[in-house]
Amino acid sequence: MDLDFTPEDDQLRAEARAWLASNVPSTARPAESVAAGQYDRDWQRRLHEGGWAGLNWPREFGGRGFSAVQQMIWFEEATRAHAPAMNSMLIALMHGGPTLIARGSEEQKAFHLPRILTGEAVWCQGFSEPGAGSDLAAITTRGRVEGDVLVVDGQKMWTSFGHWADYQELLVRTDPESRRQKGLTWVICDMKLPGIEIRPVLSMSGEHHVNMVFYDNVRIPLANVVGDIGEGWSVAMSTLAFERGTAFLADQVELAHKIDALIALASKTRLENGRLAIEDDEIAHRLARVKADTMAIRSMTIAGFSRVARENVPGPEGSMLKLFVTTTYKALGELAADISGWAFFEYGDNRHTNRMTYDFMWSWVLTIAAGSSEIQREIIADRVLGLPRAR
């Protein structure tokens, strides 16, 4: 066991640090809006021009082919330099692109992958429905084959960035007689097609981030199907395993910075009793506990890389990391609320007015999205502990 970086790792870190120092935009991302989407695309284009796009994509598809450790180095440096996050490029870079690489046709790869890497194409996800959240296999949105098109009718839910995305990874039921995981199809949907209606859903943070998407007789070329008709579940699973691999690495690295920022805040904020927050034993001990937890997150992350390096596939242990990270994020949010006093309530319904209060609310998104904490516990019970099936 070791925690050593190789000389090549150190070289990479130096290159990343130097590039970031002269390329991180001086302006902040605008409030959630089409302008914010443009900001995400512009940053992605800049990353591409600098040779930092598709870090985890294989080189033959235009990526950098980075190992997990190399990705961690990048995210550590990017966070340190206050570089923009992937934001609305995340689905394209971490789900859509990797799914096409794993299962797409040559035409699909040739058309879409360069557009993702350059920031030209934003993708959104079309998996969840009003009646299919944690129980994803309960999908009812219909797709029926008519000649060389797939005609889609139904509704998707929680579509992040759907209001400015160009494409969607869409999961539909193509066999009406089928149940559960069988009879689903994964298809690339152009969000400009006629028959698509997008309605905003305001989050409790006050921001327009997610949407409902309605499909009325939407005609998608059959050539956009990834894998075969009826293979949608296995195609979707190739992204979900990926999601629990390194997709949240940036969040894990960022958490360590958030606790350090909170410690700095506690060193200058007075509590209602007049004491500096950091000098209050209860606050100081809670800060120290969260600090220790963020240290453990880095250790778990590296242990996870090591396991994947030995076993070659992301295992169910990723669920343990997600549960621990999101629980820590929540503890951090509660602590921030406690330390900042009345300032916690100074919030104008977008993240720029008060990032800590926004993060406090975002913590529920983390414990619910991408497999809720309850679903993660089920995965651990089944696949790590081998307990008898509940279902």
């Binding site: 506990r289 600090k291 453990a296 778990m300 590296i302 549960l323 621990f324 516990r377």
Partner: protein
Amino acid sequence: MDLMPGADEHAIADAASAYLAGELPVARCHRPAPDRLAAEQLEMIGSLGWFGLSLAEAQGGVGLSPVEDVMLFREIGRYLAPVALLTTALAARVAALGGDDALAATLLTGKAKVALLVPEPADVAMWRVFDGTDAVYALAIDDESTLYPLDATAVKAIDCLDKTVSMGLLARAGMAAAVRLVDPTIMQHGTLAAAAMQVGAAEAELDMIVAYAKIRETFGRPIGAYQAVRHPCADMAVRCEAARSQLYAAAVALRDGHGDAAAQVDAAKLLANAAAVRNADSNIQLHGGIAVTMEHDAHLFMKRANLMAKLFGSDRALLDRLVDNRLAA
């Protein structure tokens, strides 16, 4: 960059487990005097190299590192083996680094057992003594560690909740040091190994309830099929994974002399304490009534976890240090 044990590290754990399963099984804790180590056992353990595993060969040790230490002490924790195994190993390190080669050799070969001395908050004239029975030396650990010859008959015995240790009180007056050593890493080695013992206990607690949840039936189904049981078990597994990963990171940091080693070790003990104590709670609760009986193993782990959560770094002490070292920085 690798935090998964390799074949050599697993071999250390497997060998330790094989010895402990034969000589010091958990079942012994249901018989009288589970704190005792026979003289032959102590010497055998000495010959296995456990008291000098991470001590340099030049100092009479095996020449391995804190990484191998955590593999060993995790097994010691899993079997609820005596705390004196850790105290004796630390005493051997103090003697060796303090220049008393003869005493170091005595301790490394298991010819003498060492008791642990802890300051008594209510009475500065007294030590609280752990594993004083049959001990010939006693060790107090701080930034300066002190190794004393011990007259075991001078220890006033007090029944301990955890019967796998003996506990007592000892007057400080008249004790003459055999070795004194100013070296803050002694406590770091102790805290790390104690964290390993807590991780081993936390894993044993998880294994115990998972095995039971597969066979115990209520309302016609195994209890492991109920989410009210499955989800706390999953949380136990997460506590083990977090504490184990941090344990490995801390062991590497201490081995390689990283600048943040002290904080990494403190964080490891903090997570290990939580894993052992809270998993002990869940293990008893999910077992139900059978686990509050004396004949069951669950209470043994609960008692040991709570004791070890106070020795070699209580949560309060660890958090205070993390506040001072990390938060102020």
